[in-house]
Amino acid sequence: MAYQPKPPDGWLKTNLRYYKHPGSWAWILHRITGLGLTAYIFVHIYALTTLTQGPKAFDDEMKLFSTPVFKVLEWLLFSLVLYHAFNGVRIVLVDWANGAKYHKKILTVVYGLGVVLFIGMGILMFREPIANMFASLK
């Protein structure tokens, strides 16, 4: 041809500009959480090598991880796990169980269950500070 068609925009720009429905958000989040979790698993494995260096090294490290900041971070990490896990189940349902026909409904359930479990885990993790808070109110 006597002319060159204009190449399209790159994937990032296209992605940013294209209309997003719940399914595409689900995918973007799944990707990000998947990468995040993989990164975390690396950190996690590395951090736990202190176990081989005896009780002191480990307990010192754990002191750091038991500070409120890290506790909250751990809790937030749980939201990634929950989201990725439930959405992963949704993907499996889509792939193996005709879930493509009601994927939006599944998505609602995924988000719902996720939020409930996230809060549940929060209560579990912070039950002491919470109990203390209520105690001080009395």
Partner: protein, 235 residues
Amino acid sequence: MKVTLRIQRYNPERDSEPYYQEFIVEAGDEKERILDLLHQVKWKFDGTLTFRRSCAHGVCGSDGIRINGRNRLACSTLLRDVNYRKPIVIEPLPSIPIIKDLIVDMSDFYRKYEAVKPYMVNNSPPPEHERYQSNDDAEKLFESAKCILCACCTTSCPSSWSDDNYIGPAALLKAYRFVFDTRDEAADERLDAVDTPDGIWRCHTIFNCVEACPKEINLTWHISQLKKRLTEREM
């Protein structure tokens, strides 16, 4: 009723980059087709505006474009389907080379369609009458046979955005159309054609294709059936 169209323009003989141009058109009511408004621009204001169209009622697949950020057919989208109080943004399909204005280069899309052997293969001698097929088996094909090759799906898929070699949902749907036809005998070749690094596994069930398809085809479901068939074969 006045409506503003914000149209992406690009003329390879003149422009180095696409740009946007606004036109104010007169619409009778909110049941007007976007295609008719584009015609109004072309026939009244600017004959250089270029787009494809033919049937004007969603059966030929010529006029897939992006309206307010999502892929649709100009002829099947009415004003009431979009927010027409603001300028309506009209652009060519994404992630496919632009030839001029709203016209894109579809050759790659067609090549992928041909890659799945989109025709029935049956080498056993045909009976005198039709090959019988139960109504249930026939109906399994109908949804996939609705496809009008408009490319709205494939160009809406993030996997195609990042890898233009990805075979894309439309071709996968076509593969389904024949793999699941009880009269066909070349399922294996088609499954081979989609089981490549740029093939079916690049589908991450994102559902953009389903959202975009003007014929309301649930592509993801069809693709999932193909994946199942493939894994059964391979494992």
